[in-house]
């Protein structure tokens, strides 16, 4: 890093500005307050100089070079507003408009259209074109989600470049030439991409429109607020936009640490699920065997009474809580405090039997997403990121393709990133540990001469294999020099839930039950006496009648827990079930009390992404009916169980978390309000990444672009001074009611993971097939199934095996076979796939109907299938 970029001086329209040698002129101008009009140039894509809108004059250069392909040199003198430049701008805009339909009144983009805006600012007022314009059939679908209007298209190639260069899905391109040049898909090959919505957002006109948003609103009727997507745990920044109390659109906001402005289609279009007709709007209690609607006080009283009864019968260990990884940090903390500090049970698990132990997640040295860019190498031992954490896939792909970071892929199967790997270590399902032992040798030649951390993206590749194999592999990878871990956990706020103690054995702020006992006894009044069970253990205990009250917090256990048999037995066996949910799941239907929960978009607070970055989520609409945020429900239950949380709003919870949870030290409501890119936990280790802004900046009106965050008023360097940062902020307008005693709490050591016992992976007998069950982005989960635009995109369930296995079994491709596991027998069709190794069967989890959930025994380390012909 010794060769710092050379500083140069450039004169733009008579004003001298400083820049770095080699920067693009258009960017230098923009950073210094001169907007050079453009259509094809996009900050996150390579310049192509196609639209010719950004032509400028440069002294000593013949003609009019485009500012987007011109790099600055010292002494460069540029004019962006000369008569010659204005003439060229007029000309280019007139050219762009001669064949443009000018159907702005019915165009989604009208009112937020760069072609409109820049014509107003830079273009001629009239067209001299009197001929017939180009005509095409319009619009034509180029995918299930995106429609193309070729008459509006200005051929800037932003969409094709995004698909090819950013998403790695080169399925749209230009066809024909000259005036007929048009965006095309290949024959019989639609633009199927998890990122297709980004093409709509980067389109500088209304040529690409998204089916879910078409004709839904006029831009000037939209109210928007910046927020954080919670569809998965990447934590993409977005702008959520509503009209008439309906969220109609989500746009990506460009922030450097996480998403660079991109969103996946599930995050972008899954907002539809919020307004599904069948949401639970009203509390319900079971009377005479039927769930009937009731008032909140009735429902809360019934829920508290049920819990109290279980306490009376079984003691604290008779109450268990599963879920809480899809809400806010404040929600999760309130549930943790209710369970551990009020009820006193440690049978609490935010993960649904498909995650990793909290001690491992919280106790391994953490990496940030930007660490991927500067890593010496990236090791992938994780689920298919393209399916589970799509925007993280984009970032890893960028690191490998554009930044040359070597990628070591440790996997059982090909996945979305396999083709970008510099080295591949293949293993049999469940044998991650022995594969991990080969990683150091694979890394050695790749990291020679490279500096930076080894970033390990760690997660459970599938739900049919227990965490043990991944835990064992983590123990090996943790010994790599400078290894830092990014936890590939999937649910929106699973990381936040673990950070605030919603898992067995841990308390808020990365402390263990033992080390935090004294501190939290002081803060809360009590803590659980002993380590509790995880979700699998809780469901098992419930099935055996040992759980008197089971609280399900947004936990769709019969569909989202890998073992449907155990989930059903657990729900059936629990003495009393409280379901806090927004959707009518099978478990909700079996509950004794149903408490309707407010969802993302309906409540504000914070969420924690997979890096441990705490970011704000915003409330944009009010829910129909009377759903409440989880933290309020937890508080009401606590009150009925004898403890008054005394909380007015989520900021008070944020202050309480900052006060009691060591990992959240200093991360209080005011800091969270001002931290532009969120706060990475623990703050002490990431202070130099903190960028503060003095006030909330509304989303800019250039919402057709990835929205740039406002410039911070306070520099990061200033914030890194521990004396100056949070204390320096004027808090006069921020009431900070005292909650839990902030000072004087006993210290508690934070968790360091040093390895754990893992059950060995049993061998596979030669007649069995070992199941690998990863997830697909579009599954039968609520976000997809309740979003009309996405619901049809769920793939068919298929059991894929190598064609040789099909002939070995003695059936034909596509024939039904009988599959037997310890959970019983199912009949499914076999499909041949040469990418599947011998001895392995692949089936995606939770695609609806009979599937993986009916085969997996969550208490087993692996899932081996007996496959027989149907006789």
């Amino acid at each position: 890093m010794s060769d710092a970029p050379q500083k140069v001086t450039v004169t733009i329209d008579g004003r001298e500005v400083q820049a770095e040698q080699g920067e693009l002129l258009i960017k230098v101008a923009q950073d210094n307050g001169t907007f050079v009009p453009r259509f094809c140039w996009h900050e996150r894509m390579k310049p192509v100089g196609m639209c010719r809108m950004c032509l400028v004059e440069v002294d000593g250069v013949r003609g009019l070079p485009p500012a987007c392909t011109t790099t600055v040199t010292d002494g460069m003198v540029v004019s962006t507003q000369s008569e010659t430049v204005k003439k060229a701008q007029d000309g280019v805009l007139e050219f762009l408009l001669i064949n443009h339909p000018l159907d702005c009144p019915v165009c989604d983009r009208g009112g937020e259209c760069p072609l409109q805006d820049q014509t107003l600012a830079f273009g001629p007022a009239e067209s001299r074109y009197v001929e017939e314009k180009r005509h095409y059939e319009k619009p034509i679908p180029i995918s299930d989600l995106v429609l193309l209007d070729r008459e509006r298209c200005i051929q800037c190639s932003r969409c094709t470049r995004f698909a090819d260069d950013i998403a790695g899905d080169p399925l749209i391109d230009f066809g024909e030439r000259g005036g007929q040049m048009q965006v095309i898909t290949y024959p019989d090959d639609p633009f199927v991409s998890y990122f297709s919505g980004n093409t709509v957002q980067v389109c500088p006109v209304g040529a690409l429109t998204a089916k879910p948003y078409r004709f839904k609103a006029r831009p000037w009727d939209l109210a928007s607020v910046e927020t954080t997507c919670q569809t998965c745990s990447v934590g993409c920044r977005g702008s959520v936009e509503s009209s008439s109390n309906r969220i109609v659109r989500m746009l990506g906001v460009d922030v450097e640490p996480t998403n660079h402005g991109w969103l996946c289609d599930k995050g972008r279009f899954g907002v539809e699920a919020l307004h599904a007709e069948d949401r639970i709007r009203t509390p319900m209690v079971r009377r005479d065997g039927e769930l009937v609607e009731c008032s909140w006080p009735e429902a809360l009283d019934a829920a508290a009474a049920g819990i109290q009864r279980a306490l009376d019968l079984h003691g604290p260990g008779g109450v268990a809580l599963i879920g809480g990884s899809r809400g806010t940090n404040e929600d999760a903390y309130a549930w943790a405090r209710l369970a551990k500090g009020v009820i006193g049970t440690d049978h609490v698990d935010a993960q649904l039997g498909d995650g990793l132990p909290a001690e491992l997640v919280l106790g391994l040295p953490g990496a940030t997403i930007p660490d991927l860019d500067r890593a010496a190498a990236i090791v992938l031992l994780a689920p298919d990121l393209k399916e589970e954490l799509p925007v993280l896939y984009l970032r890893v792909r960028r690191a490998a393709v554009d930044l040359g970071v070597p990628l070591v892929d440790v996997s059982a199967l090909d996945h979305g990133l396999s083709r970008y790997a510099s080295a591949t270590v293949r293993h049999l399902p469940g044998e991650q540990q022995s594969a991990a032992r080969e990683v150091a040798a694979a890394l050695a030649p790749l990291t020679e001469g490279r500096s930076g951390p080894i970033v390990v993206v760690l997660g459970r590749p599938d739900v049919a294999t227990a965490a043990d194999a991944t835990v064992a592999a983590a123990g090996v990878l943790a010994d790599l020099p400078e290894a830092r871990f990014l936890m590939a956990l999937r649910r929106g706020n699973v990381r936040g839930a673990l950070e605030v103690g919603l898992a067995p054995g841990v308390l808020p702020g990365r402390v263990s039950l033992e080390s935090g006992a004294e501190r939290f006894t002081a803060a809360w009044g009590r803590v659980p006496a002993a380590r509790g069970l995880d979700a699998t253990g809780i469901l098992g205990a419930a099935a055996e009648g040992r759980v008197g009250a089971l609280v399900l917090v947004g936990a769709d256990v019969t569909d989202d827990f890998p073992d449907r048999h155990l989930a059903r037995a657990g729900v059936r066996g629990a003495g009393f079930v409280v379901a806090v949910d927004a959707n009518r799941t099978e478990a909700v239907a079996a509950a004794d009390v149903v408490l309707p929960a407010a969802l993302w978009g309906e409540k504000s607070g914070t969420t924690t992404n997979l890096e441990g970055r705490v970011q704000r989520v915003a409330r944009k609409v009010s829910p129909d009916g009377s759903p409440m945020p989880d933290w309020r429900i937890a508080g009401e239950l606590a009150l009925r169980l004898g403890t008054d949380f005394d909380l007015e709003d989520e900021t008070e919870l944020q202050d309480e978390i900052a006060a009691v949870a060591p990992g959240f030290a200093e991360v209080d409501a005011i800091l969270l309000r001002r931290a532009r890119d969120g706060v990475v936990l623990p703050l002490a280790d990431h202070r130099d990444e903190l960028v503060l802004e003095a006030r909330r900046i509304p989303v800019t009106d250039f919402s057709w672009e990835p929205i740039a965050p406002a410039e911070p008023e306070v520099e990061a360097a200033e914030a890194s001074d521990p004396d100056a940062a949070p204390e320096a902020i004027d808090a006069s307008d921020e009431p900070r009611p005292a909650q839990v005693p902030a000072a004087g709490l006993p210290d508690a050591a934070t968790i360091t993971w040093t390895g754990a016992e893992a059950r060995p992976t049993p061998g596979r007998d030669n007649y069995a097939l070992r199941l690998v069950a990863g997830r697909r982005l579009y599954d039968a989960g609520r976000t997809v199934s309740a979003s009309p635009s996405l619901a049809g995109l769920v793939p068919e369930t298929a059991l894929r095996v190598h064609p040789q296995e099909i002939s070995r079994i003695g059936v034909a491709d596509g024939d039904p076979v009988r599959i037997t596991t310890s959970r019983g027998t199912q009949t499914l069709a076999l499909t041949g796939d040469t990418t599947v190794p011998l001895g392995v069967a692949v089936m995606a989890f939770n695609l609806g109907g009979v599937g993986v959930g009916d085969l997996v025994d969550a208490t087993s380390v692996v899932t081996d299938l007996r496959v027989e012909t149907v006789r």
Partner: protein, 435 residues
């Protein structure tokens, strides 16, 4: 009446040996590959720096850039580097490269071998216009024969120099004659020009240093090596040395390819009975296009007809170019607006669509010229054309200034400027008559 004649250097063999000029036997029987042998005995760098530079050889594809200078732009020490032969001859009414490829393919291969040796390249690509069916057949046969005979391939003539030659056929796009579009097409991408810099000499084919030379340019090389550069430079005039093949077409009595010494006048080329043989039915020249469809026009005035075939002179004096050597001659019965429209239609059809001014502007110009030439013009249309043209090629100058990526867009403006320069009254009168 002039009696100017051809000076046959690169067309000598194909004129003399009409039965076998394209075969290896016919080629070697007439001195073929002797120049290669001679070149291989020279210091590679000296061929460009001394022979080619001394010969004053300039590119025959259209731009007339000095070939030796082009070679000298290759960055040192960066290998592999490639020679790409531009055989995508697509400029309307240019048909010289086709003749060279069809009737003397070994001459081209010899030039390729000499150039490759000179620049240190071991792999050359010939991008051949797709429509050249016979040319491809003969060139491919010649390539195979030359390989078998040791004139190409490994250890050529025992020199230790290796050269592999790949022939690639285009798919019918004029733009692929533009060198960066040609490179993109060769790589399998859409044939669209690239943003420069980087220039091909630095990052061309597969991002490697690349020289792109025209067929005629390379066909000239063996003769420069054989004659010596200084001897070659004695032919021609000023900085336009040597001979060039002019493809003369239109209302002349003897359309065809004529290799003449540069410096001859247009009048000689058009009227000499040994050359184009004058205008049909004894009519007079109304105007002619001196260097391919991209050039501005000249008229039948004495001043224009007596101008020498000198690249710099015609450029500086009349703002026209010798370009690809296509001379299109129109007699006094011709409607210039109709010619302009037909040319505009060509450019609109061939615009690649990558940049806005060309994609939209060429089509617009075509439509306006259609109206004018088909009796639907408005008196203000010529000025509109000029302003539209100015938005593609600011200043309407030659050499072009351009708002576009490549010169295709500005090329479409040349005819418009020529209408303005020489036929404004006629065009406006046409429009008035219909208004």
């Amino acid at each position: 009446m002039s009696n100017a004649t051809e000076t046959r250097i690169i067309t000598k063999r194909l004129r003399d040996r009409t039965e076998d000029s394209w075969t290896l036997a016919g080629f070697t029987a007439s001195g073929g590959y002797d120049a290669l042998r001679k070149a291989l005995a020279m210091e590679p760098a000296a061929i460009g720096a001394e022979q080619v530079a001394a010969a004053g050889l300039r590119g025959r594809g259209g731009a007339g850039f000095p070939t030796g200078t082009k070679w000298s732009f290759l960055p040192e020490g960066n290998y592999p580097r490639y020679l790409v032969v531009n055989g995508d001859e697509g400029e309307p009414s240019t048909f010289k490269d086709r003749m060279l490829v069809e009737r003397d393919p070994h001459q081209l291969l010899e030039g390729i071998a000499i150039a490759s040796y000179a620049i240190g390249c071991n792999k050359a690509f010939i991008y051949l216009r797709g429509e050249f069916a016979l040319g491809y057949e003969r060139l491919e046969a010649a390539r195979r024969d030359a390989m078998a005979a040791g004139f190409l391939g490994d250890n050529i003539l025992g020199s230790g120099f290796d050269l592999d030659v790949v022939i690639h056929r285009g798919a019918g796009a004029y733009i692929c004659g533009e060198e960066t579009a040609l490179l993109s097409s060769l790589e399998g991408d859409r044939g669209q020009p690239r943003i420069r810099p980087p220039f091909p000499a630095v990052a061309g084919l597969y991002a490697k240093p690349t020289v792109v030379n025209n067929v005629e340019t390379l066909a000239t090389l063996p003769h420069i090596v054989a004659m010596g550069g200084e001897e070659y430079a004695k032919l021609g005039v000023n900085r336009s040395t040597g001979t060039r093949i002019f493809s003369v077409s239109g209302h002349v009595n003897r359309p065809g390819n004529y290799e003449v010494e540069l410096g001859m006048t247009f009048r000689d080329l058009i009227f000499s009975p040994e050359l184009a043989g004058g205008i049909r039915d004894g009519r007079s020249v109304k105007f002619f296009i001196p260097g391919g469809a991209s050039s501005q026009w000249l008229t039948g005035s004495d001043e224009h007809l007596d101008a020498p075939l000198d690249m710099d002179y015609v450029q500086q004096t009349f703002g026209v170019m010798l370009g690809s050597g296509a001379v299109m001659v129109y007699d006094d019965t011709t409607n210039p607006a109709l010619v302009a429209w037909r040319l505009a239609k060509f450019f609109a059809h061939e615009s690649c669509g990558k940049c806005t001014p060309c994609r939209e502007g060429t089509g617009w110009i075509e439509k306006i010229l259609y109206r004018i030439s088909h009796g639907e013009g408005r008196p203000q249309d010529l000025d509109l054309l000029l302003d539209v043209g100015d938005n593609i090629s600011p200043g309407l100058n030659a050499p072009f200034s351009q708002t576009t990526i490549c010169p295709l867009g500005p090329s479409s403006v040349s005819a418009v400027v020529s209408l303005q320069n020489y036929f404004r009254d006629e065009v406006i009168a046409m429009c008035r008559a219909t208004a």
